[in-house]
Point group: C2
Chain length 348, copies 2
DNA sequence: CTGAAAGCGCTTACAG
DNA sequence: CTGAAAGCGCTTACAG
């Protein structure tokens, strides 16, 4: 059966590239050229094909395209991020950028401590022939995963607080500044005995945020004594324990900055267990600005990261080549966190 | 080039069904039969094919299979659920069930108030030829969406607090019981002036939970006067406003039950704005048991729903036909919420 | 129980 | 600038 002989698309069945070719009186190859925005099509021909596409409501089948291209139209988000808010906001941002592109988002949580991590990711990426992969911390900081993706020749974008890779593969957040703002805020409120509760040392964000905090304190002439520099683990319980340790010191701090909000809640809990009144007896500043930060008592002053924008920018980098944009020339606005001032930190 | 002549798979290239056929000395159709677990293969042949599959590390290409099957290996989660914790937990549960099946999860947030809702969903489901769709509330309660999925002949599972559909298409949560437990708990603590703050009336969960609460109060001989029955909107602000109204009454309640945790936080906020001390002056019980419920002060007593299990069960229903399980005979354990007792509600 | 042919809906490589 | 042929890696429908 030759192309020209084929029946018109039955109603209820999707139009195919053959239907468009027949209606537009061209070969399917030419239709393919139009779909793929090849420059080698006469304007008149392109218009005729486009008309047929619109008339038939033709949408190319991603499975068939993927099979021929040897690449699917799926973007994978691989993450070990424990915060649901972070994950959902980032998914939303990625979807913002993917809208209208025909790409879909496939989610793939993982655990960096799993012995099968690499095998799992390889299976996922290879089997689906992913269009690309987006990774937030901390899996974005795992070089063995990156090596694997390079070996599989799969485009990827890493989100991290340090430029670990080439610009087209990175969305960098300036976590140094976020923590520095928190430090300045506390000093400006008159605090001098200010403590820091860090997150897991294996997270780059913890190191960068800690440094920003210390540097900014120093700028303002305030020192962070070792006893005020506590290693936490990004969990509520670790924040609570750190606060108990700090508040037991002969000279306890008047303010505590924690490198995420969960630990800030732990600090507040510990303070109350010791009979302190908040924020009168202790100022607290967190990092993340979770939705509940505005809803607890006292409202938590916290550093906000534009997670959704970060997801969108990561996806845009992945899409750049498809859109004919040189990824190297993509605008690289620095991601700057901002301090959301509420009532958990007050004048001392 | 006949199948038998084809070169062995180059290293670095994935083995195909042709490679397996050659090694096992059978036609590719027979390999296909083995992949698809057809019973019409001699055991000896099957073993030989399986051996070749293992030797070559063959994994069928989902795109090629999908193209031939006219159905992809993608499960869509379509949701308008605003709670990040709910969304992430449900995704996790779905992925638990999908593990090892070769299916992947594609996420698709939506808005029921969008004028393009049906067009968007149609485009998504039709274009991707989804294997199936899973929907939590409230989009799961939208009959126009369901009609569309039926028209597109796409399997789906709805999660809701009422059996809106046939068993194989439903995961039903017993929200009546969850709210009833909260009511009994408050009465058992000695409360008699107990108020209810509902969620959006357009959500079935709000209606069912409200009914469970009222019914259980009545069982215990406690009445819910109209002034104690407030319509909220599942938001922090609506909880706060409701509490201000309730606490302004000549006979204010000694306990307030809110149909989600966000509103419980709003109630706590209002109480503090009025100078009340919690939980001494007001008991509060929420619904959802968000992670922060355990981390705020006072710790929030709340009703917990096993969201992850619900996601897993929904995905298992979708997989049943593929696994040769009769969906009608699938076990249908009732999803029972449980009350997590903490310190926000105390003896009056 | 097994297989050769045709097809799923696209693209690549080669011509012209 | 355009097209006929071959192919991507599978399955369906039909034989035997």
């Amino acid at each position: 059966m030759s192309e020209r002989d084929s029946q018109p698309a039955k109603s209820g069945k999707r139009a195919t590239i053959n239907d468009v070719a027949r209606v537009a009186q061209v070969s399917k190859k030419t239709v393919s050229r139009v779909i793929n925005q090849s420059p080698f099509v006469r304007e008149e021909t392109r218009a005729r094909v486009q008309e047929a596409i619109d008339e038939l409501g033709f949408v190319p089948d991603p499975q068939a395209r993927g099979l021929a291209f040897r690449r699917s139209f799926l973007v994978g988000m691989i993450y070990d991020q424990p915060s649901p808010t972070y994950v959902v906001n980032m998914q939303q941002g990625i979807l913002d950028a993917l809208k209208g592109s025909g790409l879909e988002l496939v989610v793939h949580p993982c655990s960096r401590t799993s012995p099968t991590l690499l095998k799992d990711i390889r299976g996922f990426v290879e089997r689906q022939r992913l269009f690309g992969v987006i990774m937030p911390p901390s899996v974005s900081e795992d070089e063995t995963v990156i090596e694997l993706l390079r070996e599989l020749d799969t485009p990827y974008v890493r989100i991290a607080s340090i430029a670990l890779d080439q610009p087209q593969n990175m969305v960098v957040t300036n976590d140094w500044i976020g923590a520095a703002e928190a430090a300045r805020h506390l000093v400006d409120l008159g605090h001098r005995r200010i403590a820091l509760v860090r997150g897991l040392a294996s997270f780059r964000s913890s190191v960068v945020r800690g440094q920003g905090f210390i540097d900014a304190l120093k700028e303002r002439g305030v020192n962070l004594p070792p006893a005020y520099d506590i290693q936490g683990a990004y969990t509520f319980d670790s924040g609570r324990e750190a606060a108990h340790a700090l508040l037991s010191l002969p000279e306890p701090p008047t303010a505590i900055f924690t490198l995420n909000d969960d630990m800030a809640l732990g600090v507040m809990q510990a303070a109350r267990e010791r009979g302190l009144e908040l924020p009168r007896d202790l100022s607290v500043v967190g990092y993340d600005d979770l939705p509940m930060a505005a809803h607890i008592w006292p409202n938590l002053t916290s550093v906000r990261l534009p997670i959704r924008d970060m997801g969108r920018m990561a996806a845009e980098k992945l899409l750049a080549p498809m859109r004919g944009v040189d990824p190297a020339r993509l605008q690289q606005p620095e991601i700057r966190p901002s301090l959301v001032v509420r009532r958990s930190a007050i004048q001392v």
